[in-house]
Subunit: 416 residues, 2 copies
């Protein structure tokens, strides 16, 4: 009788999930990655898909392509719907998977904070499909405005609102103004005074993770680019025709891009563990779920306190946690007791705020402008999966930088 | 009072439509291109999108990007639904457009020859969306088969049938076998003896436009690659679970790709002109629609007899007809009477039958194998729109040729 190999089930093929699988792939175990999609998405560049700089295949990498040489790693393409911790089984819409170890790395989804009209009538910006919807919609709005004779309706079509002053909202608003700048060459009948991009933020500053100086710099640069930055402004309602602000001001628009918050995927609520307000599981220092030594939660699924506050839901945290998670699973499989404790070494943060401009902070070091942007480019290129992709994205960025052209302006739906 | 400029309306942004617009763009006229999509599609490479070699943006080029420097050329993104020749008005789902000259270059659509079950349950291969559906579906079938325990159902999922032995069917079948070859590395649980690609053709040969010798060569090469080429075989029915052949043989499959025929778009039937069986308008030697000197039909919309038979519905014919069409419109605008007569100089034809293999014929000259394939690559690269695209496609082809990798294996729908 052969001994059954331990089965590690990893939910989610984001930064944390892929990294965990890679680090465990050489062990004498079976690994199953469960994901609704067949690709790893490079989320930090999602805004470039939505604004026609890059295309689908540039930021999505087939999960199986990572594991050519690892016949013990398989993908189970399904939606994880629940966890039965007693039977050690993951429930999916394509049946059950039993596990010896379970890694919850399923990422986050958009948080509308209970506002149903906003959920129904705004565009989220979290998945590949979300970004394609935004791209199709924005390009449609220009085509429709180009043949619209009523000025009020035309202005409504040409008003683009991003909600949320974090990196996603800031990068999306910046990239949209640049896309629109390019549109000037091609929509000869549109009066570009009627076009506007607005960025709405509830607090009085953008980019919460940045030092004060760079936060002010970001507002200044975006405004100079033509973004109408509206600080200390809260959203009350959204019906697809207009956005209503708290206080009663109304912005007529068909386009509200919602980047105001995320929460962990609903799967986490089936675990029965203690969670924070954003549905993240409060994990031990070993990244285990309290009471379930065989279940780990990492990345956007984990609430890990350090220096008195939870770590941010960003890719470097997930990747770093994957290293400790994989190490601890190995220790457990070898019958070890003493697990490694996780501690995050902050690598700093960065955000692009336009073509040739970014902000970057690491510890006390701060930088903005062209050199920060160059650093941003290099770091993102290095982290993209696959040399093939690196070369194509480098080429597209160079072409975009030199010519201002964006050839991804393809409307893929035919809902006209 | 300023004189009203003549208005040329061009229906369709395919090879014929774009070429006509380019040739007329410098005249003192207004040009409106009407298309349901906002891009020009490079149809000869559509099969490469459906088999994950290239991505959307590589074979679709924004229509407006052709006309940066021509403020007199505009796009009207709408579906052309009818022609009112008395009022000289084109009817669309977004209102009417009056014209002085009308160019019908709206291309073709899939012809099911009245077989409703086939239309409902097979995959057409004519638009960008069609190719994306096929890509998503084929990749889904592999993911589903990978977790399917019933052998009969698994074989059904892994049987891929192309119907139609023209270039589209041949190229699709060839590219599918190569995609499947790559899958061997990644689906460690699938028994590839259960996978099959079939190519069904009603006559006893493939590639009707080719000399006999190359037609036999094509069958030989495809069979060597593992394609089950079924000649003299006709389709009777298709229900999504099985394909029924005339004579009663049944092939269990979820995937029937229909490349067996095309006909002109339904718009042509609203013209009230004499048409052939494929809904193409029988045009004069000047490419005008008889009785309507201000209306031209070109490419897949025109039935033009030469040497006793109608010209093939291929890109070179459309592009060449656009030249004569544009010239004749200029002559008419200048009050001229003597229009140019169209005559097609056959440039030959070519088709890829695999990685590193193609067939090519021009007059009495015939060629197959690696050099024919190299010629195919160069001709197609030269015809692609935009230097940017040329460079990216060259790179992707080189990468694909050298490594066998296809990174476009991204399932973009989330219908699991």
């Amino acid at each position: 009788m052969t001994e059954q190999k331990p089965h590690v089930v990893i939910v989610g093929a984001g930064f944390g999930g892929i990294q965990t699988a890679k680090l465990l792939a050489k062990e004498n175990i079976t690994i199953t990655i469960v994901d609704r999609q067949n690709f790893h998405l490079f989320q930090p560049l999602l805004y470039q898909l939505s604004t026609s700089v890059l295309s689908t295949d540039d930021i999505a990498y087939p999960i199986r392509a990572f594991f050519h040489h690892n016949p013990n790693v398989d993908l189970f393409m399904a939606k994880a719907e629940g966890i039965d911790t007693k039977r050690k089984v993951l429930l999916t819409n394509h049946g059950e998977l039993s596990y010896d170890y379970l890694v919850l790395a399923a990422g986050a989804t958009t948080n509308y904070f209970g506002m149903e009209t906003v959920e129904k009538n705004s565009f989220p910006m979290k998945t590949l499909q979300d970004a394609l919807h935004i791209r199709n919609h924005v390009l449609h709005m220009f085509e429709r405005a180009n043949m619209q004779e009523d000025e009020e309706e035309r202005r409504r079509m040409l008003t683009f609102v991003c909600v949320g002053g974090g990196p996603t909202g800031v990068e999306e608003a910046g990239a949209l103004t640049e896309l629109i700048h390019l549109m000037r060459r091609e929509y000869h009948n549109i009066n570009f005074d009627e076009v506007s991009v607005k960025l709405i933020e509830a607090t009085d500053k953008l980019l919460p993770m940045m030092p004060l100086e760079l936060r002010d710099e970001t507002v200044r640069v975006l405004r100079k680019k033509g973004v109408d930055v509206m600080l200390s402004t809260q959203v009350a309602d959204c019906d697809g025709e207009r956005l209503v602000l708290k206080g009663g001001v109304t912005i007529p628009t068909h386009t509200v891009i919602w980047a105001a918050g995320v929460k962990a995927v609903p799967l986490m609520t089936t675990l029965g563990a203690t969670m924070d307000r954003a549905d993240r599981v409060i994990v031990d220092k070993t990244l285990q779920v309290p009471g379930h030594p065989e279940i780990f939660a990492i990345g956007d699924n984990a609430h890990f306190e350090q220096d008195g506050r939870p770590l941010a839901t960003v890719a470097p945290v997930a990747t770093h946690q994957a290293v400790v998670c994989a190490k601890n699973i190995k220790i457990l499989m070898q019958g070890g007791q003493k697990l490694e404790l996780f501690a995050y070494h902050d690598l700093g943060s960065m955000a692009t705020i336009g073509r040739g401009d970014a902000v970057l902070a690491r510890g006390n070091f701060k930088m903005s402008g062209f050199f920060a942007w160059s650093a941003w480019l290099i770091v993102h290129l290095m982290r993209l999966a696959g040399i093939h992709t690196n070369i194509i994205v480098t080429f597209k960025w160079a072409w975009n930088y030199l010519s201002g052209m964006r050839l991804g302006r393809i409307i893929t739906n035919i809902d006209i």
